[in-house]
């Protein structure tokens, strides 16, 4: 039945077709803001995307090549009545080639991505800025403690919010990313900013610095990317990137005055 090879060919064509289609659909492609579906809004995001594309090209080409070879072999060398199989001990040259080529590709990818990894994850590359906030992941919400006007955490002017992350776009901050300290109040969670391509596990007992940048003001999302319990889906937070520092300061002042509300008349029912 050489027609089985057609089925395998079709499976391969569907897989490749899905990847060919994906870039043309914002729903299938990488998570970006709705206004600019093909523009990653952060510097790290663009680096990650370029790494992703390189790997997609390499694996795509290899996939197409191996599928063509597989389908061709299963078509051509189909079992025929009366045909006799030949036995041989293998080809050392072929084995060396198909070991060295993938190994070289892997080494290339490993070396090529090192810079990006170091820039996003190494503590030594953390930006030398005052922390924006301390983010505590807990079942099932993001508890965010902003450093407040004095820029220092754990002082009386800290702003306490839940599921509401705000920062200023990077062009206004001399291209410096925003820095948070991430911790967990209970189990493993993962701090995931899909549009900014940042993902970092929150590990109980550790305080982990996380930095991220964004060059478009707007609304984004913060999600939990580690199944943390029955309410995992509830760990969804608004992310607001402000156009400039003055905007951000104005927002913080407003939130602080809500937090300091001491009479109903002060903020007419607004602090609810």
């Amino acid at each position: 039945m050489r027609y089985w090879s057609i089925l395998f060919a079709l499976a391969a064509v569907f897989s490749i077709g899905a990847f060919v289609y994906a870039p043309f659909s914002p729903d299938w492609w990488l998570p970006n803001s709705a206004n600019e579906p093909y523009h990653a809004v952060s510097k790290f995001g663009r680096e990650i995307d370029s790494l992703f594309l390189i790997i997609l090209w390499i694996t795509g080409i290899v996939f197409i090549g191996t599928q063509i070879a597989l389908v061709w072999v299963s078509w051509k060398y189909i079992d025929k009545p009366g045909s006799v199989a030949t036995y041989f001990h293998g080809s050392q040259r072929l084995e060396v080639i198909w070991t060295i080529i993938p190994a070289a590709i892997l080494v290339f990818i490993a070396l090529y991505q090192m810079g990006t990894w170091a820039e996003i994850k190494f503590r030594s590359s953390a930006p030398k800025v005052l922390p924006l906030a301390e983010v505590t992941a807990r079942q099932f919400q993001w508890v965010i403690r902003y450093a407040g006007p004095d820029g220092k955490l754990h002082t009386t002017d800290d702003l306490h919010l839940v599921n509401d992350l705000h920062f200023v776009k990077s062009a206004e901050k001399l291209e410096k990313p925003a820095l948070i300290w991430l911790q967990s109040g209970d189990v493993l969670h993962s701090f995931f900013l899909p549009q900014l391509r940042i993902k970092q596990d929150a590990v109980p007992g550790l305080k982990i610095p996380v930095w991220f940048d964004c060059d478009r003001a707007g609304q984004y999302e913060l999600l939990c990317a580690e199944l943390c319990g029955w309410g995992h889906y509830k760990m969804r937070s608004k992310v607001t990137v402000h156009e400039n520092q003055a905007d951000f300061d104005e927002w913080m002042q407003r939130k602080l005055s809500e937090q300091n509300q001491s009479q109903i008349a002060a903020v007419a029912q607004g602090g609810k």
Binding site: D164, E258, S262
Partner: protein
């Protein structure tokens, strides 16, 4: 599109059917209040009458929602649940929930209604009837709120009054810190918040009306067919609904704004907290919150007994753990009272000691008969909110259903603000209460359970306070 999901559903069902341990959430029906059985034990007719009256008022089962006339809830039903009209205008207040309807067109957000939202987000903790008995409830401390008593803890209204809608909205929107109630701020739309609030009030109304009907049935004659007539049950419902309607007029607004948090104000607050103030009325904070405000005052059962009983195993065997602990403490106290004599206490000798410990445990329960802890004020975690006005409300009018009492008018508003300033400063100034002790011992000679430092090397789980006569007795067993 639909067929693709249908195939996935079939494939999923087939593959799951093999597992044999599919989670069964149980039937979607209201549970009876436990007092229906206890209060009306010998009155089966009255039990049936209560169920019938409740079914008439609120609907016989969760999917058939009757919004009672005069309840203050939206009559159209659109905000309460995703209902259809139930019976051709004969009863305009009766609506039936459209089950399994997915008529939404792409691009529009379906208005799902409070019942649907409640089932999705709230039911697994708060339960079908709002009894705080959802499938995840036994794993949580504090336990999810049982709305049926109509008591809500964190309100802006006067002591014992219903919360306003904005109080409930604040709880749902921002969660309750230090509890398992999460924040739904980013999950729901403005309209959905109102729908969920409607449904929570509906469940609370229903539960409180049920309790009132049981009370009425309890004093009624078993043979009286009109004991719970429509007029009587309608009257009972109106009394409950009026409490909700009057909530907005019951909001407590502090008469003066919070003064500057000066060291003097904090110091005055500290003196009030410790009962050291020389002038004015004294308040007693330390007997519950403890002299270091760690939430370990002597009025409450000690932290390690609490931890052992509440967190030491299966929640359903709490009673057994409490009995075992009480026995241990009683023996220890007996030993210490008798200066470590080798003589084994008899059952009669243990009895008063046991009763005392059980009493202390009973005193440490809230109105839902759930074990309670006073807040540790050093952590900066405030369940009812951290705004000064929130803490003012907690101090001034107490916490409904819990042991925190009201302190207005015992304290003048400016003194309450001093306490608020002190409470807000405490997490940032850990030395504020260094070395503070309980105020002079009250005249009663009842032995208090001491608050030992949590020490794993300590072989006795319960270090009890040594009697003053023999300081060595409390060291080891």
């Amino acid at each position: 599109m639909i067929s693709r999901f249908r195939w996935a559903l079939i494939a999923g069902t087939v593959s799951l059917a093999g597992c044999g341990e599919m989670f069964d959430p149980g039937p979607l029906e209201y549970v009876d209040s436990p007092s229906l059985q206890t209060e009306l034990k010998d009155k089966p007719t009255m039990q049936a009458a209560v169920r019938k009256a409740l079914g008439n008022l609120f609907g016989p089962e969760p999917r058939e929602i009757h919004v009672p006339v005069g309840s203050g809830l939206p009559m159209g039903g659109a905000r309460l649940a995703s209902h259809r009209h139930f019976d051709d205008g004969a009863k305009p207040q009766a609506f039936h929930v459209a089950v399994g309807s997915s008529t939404s067109t792409p691009g529009t957000i379906p208005i799902r209604g409070g019942f649907a939202l409640y089932r999705e987000h709230c039911l697994h903790c708060h339960g079908v009837s709002g009894a705080g008995d959802g499938p995840t409830a036994p794993f949580l401390y504090p336990r999810p709120r049982d709305y049926r008593k109509g008591i809500f803890k964190f309100t802006s209204t006067n002591t014992g009054q219903k919360p306003t809608r904005s109080d409930l909205e604040k709880t749902i929107r921002y969660g309750l810190h230090g509890t398992s109630m999460p924040a739904f701020d980013a999950m729901l739309t403005e309209r959905e918040f109102q729908q969920v609030i409607d449904y929570v009030i509906f469940l609370s109304l229903r539960g409180e009306t049920e309790l009132a009907l049981i009370g009425e049935a309890g004093i009624a004659d078993e043979k009286d067919p009109n004991a719970l007539s429509d007029e009587v049950s309608g009257e009972i419902l109106r009394a409950v609904a009026n409490k909700w309607k009057s909530a907005d007029s019951q909001v407590m607004n502090p008469p003066i704004p919070k003064p500057e948090s000066t060291p003097e104000s904090i110091q005055r607050g500290k003196e009030l907290f410790l009962g050291l103030n020389k002038t004015g009325n004294k308040v007693d904070c330390t007997s519950c919150h403890g002299p270091q405000a760690l939430g370990n005052g002597p009025s409450f059962i000690s932290q390690d007994v609490f931890n052992y009983v509440v967190f030491g195993g299966d929640p359903s065997t709490r009673g057994e753990r409490l009995d075992a602990e009480a026995e241990r403490i009683a023996r220890k106290r007996f030993e210490m009272a008798n200066h470590g004599s080798a003589h084994e206490p008899t059952a009669d000798e243990l009895k008063p000691l046991l009763a005392q410990i059980k009493k202390q445990w009973e005193d440490s329960l809230d109105d839902w008969k759930e074990p309670l802890r006073p807040a540790n004020l050093n952590r900066g975690v405030y369940k009812g909110g951290r705004r000064p006005i929130d803490i003012y409300w907690r101090v001034a009018k107490g916490i409904n259903g819990a042991k925190m009492p009201a302190h207005v008018p015992t304290l003048e508003p400016e003194k309450v603000w001093d306490v608020v300033n002190f409470v807000l400063a405490l997490p940032y100034e850990p030395k504020l209460l260094e070395g503070a002790t309980l105020p002079a011992a009250p005249p009663t000679s009842a032995p208090k359970v001491a608050q030992p430092k949590y020490d794993l090397s300590n072989t006795t789980l319960l270090a009890d306070s040594p009697p003053p006569a023999d300081p060595k007795a409390g060291n080891t067993k």
